[in-house]
């Protein structure tokens, strides 16, 4: 894991003290909220429906037990005993007091964490594969590249006042577990014919009001030139961005307006310029950072079998455990989706349990996933039973990864000041409707994603079944979308028809699921069936 050096630490500590002073002046009435807002947003502090909300960055979703314990501590001391993991591998606290925020940031800084660039028109937390460094199918660990990019882009003046927020993802596996092409700028690590490491580059993706799937703009970018290339992309965007129109400022609009070809042409032109400046990092710098991500000291000669005599444990293993690249090890997924719970929420006590498990059984490493779950990346297969028992005792052993109850939901109208409708109660009702594990297993992989407004924080555009909360004459209404995906076969969900009320949307989802069950062929997932048979049959089943 990356550790701050003295410069990183000094920078983050200085930022905390700077913000302490800004908060003091705000509380003394020397600033109004219009003056204060840009300052608090630079530190991830929003004003939400009930209170201030603090968004803390978890770079590429990786954290250790000490950090997780601090997150628990913050939940306990400054919030109401829980935190909320989001689809961008961040954690949010919903009940923060302004006066206490500098202390929280100081506590975060003490474990090398912060909330810088978790808001505003900046390069946000860089996301990655939650199995990075552990996945059996990855080429190399993508996180050193995430970390390089993070270091190069944090506080960089040209990137501090971008036309809009900018989201980057980096992965290194053929399977996409990071919703790559839903990002503004996305990199997949590949090897060229000469065996060199480089990136397949995508640009112009994003959800929100105007969703676009990122275009491939480069088949192979030598890895060491990534900084020049990123600068080129941002320069082209900065030059043309519609700063006059808030709905058209995201880079996806520009890429779409210029067209993929013209955008690429301009990027290549700017790229040649940046390359000539020679600002790319030297190999030594990559080596220095990569050393932090050296694989943990895996034991060899471990037993590779798992005793599955206990059926509840076997069910959990089947659903939550994934192949690891080291023999004798496995990746264990922790569900934050108990049926009837709030997707992504976790109590301080549960965070402590997870921190303990990471320290004892996973080389002190944890991951947050874009599906609002957690991961223990390196567990010895023979320890899985003990891990499962501890998780079960903490109410964290649900075996529903990628099943119908593993819903993604944004906070919606229960917490968010931008929302049109509540998301969480819809997620809860759907999960309750499909609570029976036998029925869930029969339905198989099905990704349902719910947002409380067009901003799409709940990824509804990427839902096999997507649900969008809208305001219909002052009351909550829900649109049903079908056919979205955030995996390697990225697709955008399409609206099925007229919206529903809260009870109606749950019934509509059930009708869609039953239609799938009726027409699927052997081994077909929901999304496969939808792609094969198309919208019409589903529409008829849903609307009659």
């Amino acid at each position: 894991m990356y550790r701050y050096d003295q410069y990183d630490q000094a920078m983050v500590d200085t930022r905390v003290e700077e913000f302490r002073d800004q908060v003091r002046r705000r509380i003394e009435g020397k600033m109004d909220d219009d003056q204060f807002k840009p300052l608090r947003l630079k530190n991830g502090l929003y004003l939400q429906l009930h209170a201030y909300m603090l968004r803390v960055a978890i770079p590429y979703g990786t954290l250790d037990s000490r950090q997780m314990r601090m997150l628990a501590d913050i939940a306990r001391r400054y919030d109401r005993g829980y935190g909320h993991f989001t689809t961008r591998q961040n954690i949010q606290y919903n009940w923060i007091k302004l006066a206490e925020t500098p202390d929280i940031l100081a506590d975060l800084a003490s474990v090398q964490m912060h909330a810088i660039q978790t808001s505003g028109e900046s390069i946000r937390n860089i996301s990655s594969d939650q199995y990075a460094g552990a996945a059996a199918d990855e080429l190399i660990d993508p996180r050193p590249w995430c970390e390089m990019i993070r270091q190069m882009t944090t506080f960089m003046p040209e990137f501090s006042y971008l036309p809009r927020k900018f989201k980057i993802a980096v992965i290194a596996s053929p399977a996409d577990r990071a919703a790559l092409r839903w990002h503004d700028f996305a990199l997949r690590i590949v090897r060229n014919a000469d065996g060199e490491i480089g990136f397949e580059v995508y640009a112009g993706g994003g959800m929100g009001r105007t969703p676009f799937i990122a275009y491939p703009i480069r088949e192979f970018l030598p890895a060491t030139q990534v900084f020049s290339y990123l600068q080129a992309v941002l320069r082209v965007w900065n030059r043309h961005a519609r700063r006059d129109n808030i709905h058209k400022q995201r880079m996806k609009i520009l890429v779409h307006d210029l067209g993929q070809e013209e955008f690429s042409r301009q990027v290549e032109e700017a790229f040649a310029h940046f390359l000539s400046l020679g600002e790319d990092f030297p190999q030594a710098e990559y080596d220095r950072i990569a050393a932090y991500f050296a694989p943990p000291p895996f034991e060899t000669g471990l037993d590779d079998t798992i005793d599955l005599a206990d059926p509840a444990f076997a069910a959990w293993v089947r659903q939550q455990v994934i192949a690891h690249k080291a023999p004798g090890y496995a990746i264990a997924n922790i569900s934050l989706k108990p049926v009837g719970g709030i997707p992504g929420d976790i109590s301080a006590d549960q965070m402590d349990v997870v921190a303990d498990l990471a320290r004892r059984y996973s080389f002190d490493e944890l991951r947050a996933t874009h599906a609002q779950n957690l991961v223990l990346p390196h567990v010895r297969k023979q320890d899985l039973y003990a891990v499962w028992q501890a998780l079960a005792a903490a109410g964290l052993a649900d075996a529903n990864r990628d099943l119908v109850t593993d819903l993604i939901a944004c906070p919606g109208l229960d917490y968010c000041s931008l929302a049109n409708a509540r998301s969480i109660p819809v997620a809860q009702q759907i999960a309750r409707r499909f609570a029976d594990p036998v029925r869930q297993a029969d339905i198989g992989e099905l990704k349902i994603k719910i947002s409380g407004c067009i901003n799409a924080c709940g990824h509804h555009h990427a839902g096999n079944i997507g649900i969008l909360g809208v305001d219909r004459k002052g009351s909550e209404s829900y649109q049903l979308l079908l056919g979205g995906s955030g995996d390697e076969e990225t697709s955008q969900a399409k609206i099925a028809g007229p919206g529903f009320d809260e009870a109606g949307i749950v019934d509509a989802v059930e009708r869609a699921v039953e239609h799938y069950r009726a027409v699927r062929t052997d081994g077909e997932r929901f999304i496969d069936t939808y792609r094969r048979v198309g919208m019409d049959g589903f529409k008829e089943a849903i609307y009659g």
Binding site: G29, L47, A51, L98, D414, A419, G474
Partner: protein, 99 residues
């Protein structure tokens, strides 16, 4: 009726204008009527409260103030999905009052 709301400066808690001060309880809200804008301007200038604004509300039959829009009703009592985190956790009717 026009009622005034905002967030407390230090804590961020949702507050309601009572005619002379701010309260955490929507029941204490009064009709600001035609004076709403003047009060808002004065309170914003005094910088005791964050982002104050006026909303429509009505009195229920039992005399309680109820904001017109669901969003403000959720603001008034807390998230409908965590009864334990609502302003009055013991009130079993709170969720129904919102919806």
């Amino acid at each position: 009726m026009r009622i005034l709301t905002g967030n407390d400066l230090k804590s961020g808690a949702v507050t309601w204008w009572t005619g002379y001060d701010w309260s955490l309880h929507v029941e204490d809200a009064v009709d600001a009527g035609a004076e709403a804008d003047a009060i808002l301007a004065r309170e914003a200038a005094a910088r005791r409260v964050n982002n104050p604004y006026a909303i429509d509300g009505a009195r229920t039959e039992d005399g309680r103030v109820r904001p017109a829009h669901i969003k403000d009703r959720i603001r008034a009592v807390g998230p409908t999905v965590r009864p334990d985190l609502m302003l009055k956790p013991a009130d079993p009717g709170a969720r129904d009052w919102v919806i």
